[in-house]
Amino acid sequence: MEMNYDQVELLKELMRAHFCAVETALYLDTHPKDPRALADHNKCACRLEMLRKQYIQKYGALTHEDPSVYPWTYINGPWPWEIKY
């Protein structure tokens, strides 16, 4: 149930993109009219979407709403608490 190097690296790239989106979103919650922050957030959102698509296609579903090849990939380990990052 070990992840190979390439998968861990892509996962960490995805985690970084996620974090950028979270950070800009919190800022925008209290500064909804900041155009620069909004542009940053939209850039993060685009990158996150691209990386999610790439990851899912290569390694399977990240959420139970994602499409999956047969058999159902969502349950495949390792789960987040089992991964060596």
Partner: protein
Amino acid sequence: MWIYEKTLEYPANVSYPDPRMAKLIIEQYGGPDGELAASLRYLTQRYTMPIDQAKGLLTDIGTEELAHLEIVATLVYKLMEGASVEQLKKAGLADYYANHDKALFYVSAAGNPWTATYIQAKGDPIADLHDDMAAEQKARATYENLINLSDDPCVKDTLRFLREREVVHFQRFGEALRLVQEWKDSRKIF
């Protein structure tokens, strides 16, 4: 609604099993200023926030705290993984093991089970946002204590990330408080 995604918000690695540190870090899992308390506090206070900015912020920070809960759980899980019963006994975890084996349970470092009396929802947005700002500072202080108690660079790195998030959340809650105060002032009729 919420959707689970199979990623951590930040990597959580440990260099070696260390049940002694697991017993201490569980403070931020089920302790008074831990991530469960934080998440449930914000998510239940959001319903009575008067302005959209505060509703959005409490929803998003409450959700991020669930991600932090998962990071803390990962640290505790990995620190206990592979530890023998003898090692757990030495780490002061014999009573924990008797009840929970190595399962994750919502207790403080001193073994007290989580309780809703740790949190509050007053329906008064000024009171609630002050409560939230205090909660972030208390969590920051706890993370600093845990960083001082650890000698594992991997564990320290993850704890530093979590500490930093408390500082950011404190800042955002302060902004929300100012926005709520402005909203209240704008409604005063003289």
